[in-house]
């Protein structure tokens, strides 16, 4: 029954070994003179069994980071280490790595081939990896049931017959088809209604326990990240500005940018509603980022020297780091 090809890849480094380690990852687009540093020296780790949320404004490099980790685009620099092993030439082959890391995209319609039935879409990857037709069919049925869709009725349907929430469930089932250990969720609920969003989030929580998964959850919705994530990473203009446990970071944001993001959430209490925007202006052009701390032109508590010195990530408290001069000095 168990196909050696498609059982989950066993844990190698033990529970203390981070599942995913990203070191100094960079991706620059464009030619000399107008280089866009979409991702610029990003380092972080995803522990086994945790959900790491990545938040930031549009264009801050969240999606580029996810595609770099998936190996869909080539990095300009840095490396990805999966369960203690370097990914790429000389280390873990990309084919082995890709079975262990899968992705769910934001646009549930564009991520399903309109000419394939739901069953064919989910079964595509197992078939590519050599699973027999019967075993694939059985797996497709199990996966559809796991994401809450009646297998008999959905396997033979086409994507345009499904609602957005149902399609996103199918995408999640497809991501699970290779029994991965890490799933990158790139804005998986951003295009869904609020009620459907809640169902899909609950489903994700359940699946994580059932399949022993770790998540990298990318979103611009701070409430969603607070609900689902264990730790949060805040990106600004291709760099990490703050990373820490979700409670600590939401209670006392150490970086002014994180504080502004949190303050921009609409409050349920009318008395607490603010009239002035916490953050003004657009993010600067990444072709020509500001000198020193990249956030200083928009920072409310900017000091002398912010435009010269690049602040390193410094400890705020245990496991909570922020890249701001005020953290280093305190």
């Amino acid at each position: 029954m168990a196909d050696p090809l498609l059982d989950p890849v066993p844990d190698l480094g033990g529970p203390a070994q981070p599942l995913l380690l990203v070191q100094n990852l960079s991706r620059h687009f464009g030619k000399k003179g107008s280089v866009v540093r979409a991702v610029d020296g990003v380092s972080f780790a995803v522990k086994k069994g945790e959900t790491l949320g990545i938040v930031g404004e549009s264009g801050c490099g969240k999606s580029t980071t996810s595609r770099l980790i998936m190996g869909l685009i080539e990095p300009s620099g840095g490396e990805v280490i999966f369960d203690g092993e370097h990914v790429g030439p000389g280390g873990m082959p990309l084919s082995v790595y890709r079975r262990q890391v899968q992705m769910v995209f934001q646009d549930s319609y564009a991520s399903l081939n309109p000419r394939l039935t739901i069953g064919e879409s989910i079964g595509f990857a197992p078939r590519v990896h050599g699973l027999s037709r019967e075993a694939t069919d059985a797996r497709v049925r199990d996966l559809l049931a796991a994401v809450g869709l009646a297998p008999d009725q959905f396997a033979r349907r086409y994507p345009h017959e499904l609602s957005g929430g149902q399609r996103q469930r199918v995408n999640i089932a497809r991501a699970l088809a290779l029994r991965p250990r890490l799933i990158i969720l790139d804005e998986p609920v951003s295009a869904l209604d609020k009620s459907v969003e809640a169902q899909v989030l609950n489903l994700l929580v359940d699946l994580k326990a059932e399949f022993d998964l770790s998540y990298l959850f990318i979103s611009h919705d701070l409430n969603v990240v607070q609900f689902i994530a264990d730790r949060v990473l805040v990106m600004y203009l291709g760099q990490v500005v703050e990373i820490g446990p979700v409670e600590a970071l939401y209670r006392e944001a150490a970086h002014p940018y994180t504080a502004a993001l949190l303050a921009s959430r609409p409050s349920m209490d009318p008395d607490l509603r603010r009239t002035t925007p916490p953050l003004t202006g657009d993010p600067p052009n990444p072709v020509n980022p500001p000198s020193g701390c990249r956030f200083h032109p928009r920072c409310a508590v900017v000091q002398r020297g912010c435009d010269i010195h690049v602040p390193p990530l410094a400890d705020v408290s245990s496991g909570h780091l922020a890249a701001c001069v005020r953290v280093g000095a305190a």
């Binding site: 890709r98 081939n113 000419r115 595509f124 009646a150 009725q153 086409y158 469930r169 609950n202």
Partner: protein, 298 residues
């Protein structure tokens, strides 16, 4: 936020009760509602049957003329559409003429669809220097107006049906390459192709399963659109003496030889033109109808 109420039913989500609808059954359903497309397709079908069965249904010989019954008007006894400048029956000539006109209209497009589609999909999916090379060579062909290019190639190769088909094929390859490249590029960046790459599938598998089925439709629709252009160009080549040669019956050639009679029998002289006009309009409308029916979201 931690106590999000689950509004999902406790069991599995059930799909609506109607039967699963495949892609093509949806296309046919939409086509059935499109009366104009159906009428045009019907006209084309009748034409096709007539030209295939030409020897069986044609009342006279297409080549046997008579000096005493030249240029008879429409409605002449025994010759319902009159006779041409050599006294040959117009009904017979038009039916036989359709054979060559259709051949010259469809064959180049089919050949260009295969060659141009292949090159365009390669250019669109591979990108990089290979795509660049294919597209820049295509641009060179684009520098010439299609009529001029067809005339130039036909002129260089000499008159004849085979040469006319060859020149028309060469004329239609560049626009099909361009459409195929554009469609492939737009499909290549979609998330389901990314997802297939992330699953570790080979390039060949991705193209076969995810790219081809989604790009062939639009390219096919564009190619059917070109059939009418091919017919008109083929007629033009024949008119200039570069396509078919007398006494062969072909609509463009008939239009050419009958032009001397335009003052004596204007209605008869216009008949081949009317055939070209009706056929190309029908092909265009069917192609438009297909495009509409193949759009899943409509």
């Amino acid at each position: 936020m931690s106590e999000i109420a689950s509004t999902a039913p406790s069991g599995l989500i059930q799909a609506p009760a109607r039967a699963p609808a495949g892609y093509w059954s949806g296309v046919f359903k939409r086509l059935k509602r499109d009366r104009l497309t159906l009428i045009c397709a019907g006209i084309l079908l009748v034409m096709l049957i007539m030209i295939l069965a030409a020897p069986l249904i044609a009342p006279h010989s297409p080549y046997q003329g008579s000096m005493i019954r030249r240029l008879k008007p429409i409605g002449f006894p025994g010759y319902p559409l009159g006779t041409d400048e050599l006294g040959r029956d117009m009904v017979t000539r038009l039916i036989y003429g359709g054979r060559l006109s259709w051949l010259l209209g469809i064959t180049p497009v089919v050949m260009a669809f295969v060659i141009g589609g292949l090159l365009g999909i390669i250019a669109g999916f591979a990108g990089g220097w290979l795509g660049m090379l294919i597209m820049r060579v295509t641009d060179v062909f684009y520098a010439f107006p299609s009529v001029l290019l067809a005339v130039a190639i036909s002129g260089a190769l000499g008159a004849g049906i085979f040469n006319a088909i060859l020149s028309l094929t060469l004329v239609f390859i560049p626009p099909i390459i361009r459409v195929a490249e554009t469609v492939t590029t737009s499909v290549r960046v979609l998330d389901y192709v990314e997802s297939a790459r992330a699953s570790g599938a080979s390039v060949f598998t991705i193209v076969r399963v995810h790219v081809l089925p989604n790009v062939l439709g639009p390219i096919f629709v564009y190619a059917t659109n070109l059939i009418s252009v091919a017919m008109i160009l083929a007629s033009g080549l024949s008119f200039l003496g570069l396509g078919t040669k007398p006494p062969e019956a072909e609509w463009g050639l008939m239009l050419n030889t009958l032009r001397t009679a335009i003052y004596n029998q204007p209605l008869v002289a216009m008949l081949p033109g009317l055939c070209i006009f009706v056929t190309s309009i029908c092909f265009n409308l069917v192609s438009d109808g297909l495009r509409g029916a193949m759009d899943v979201r409509s």
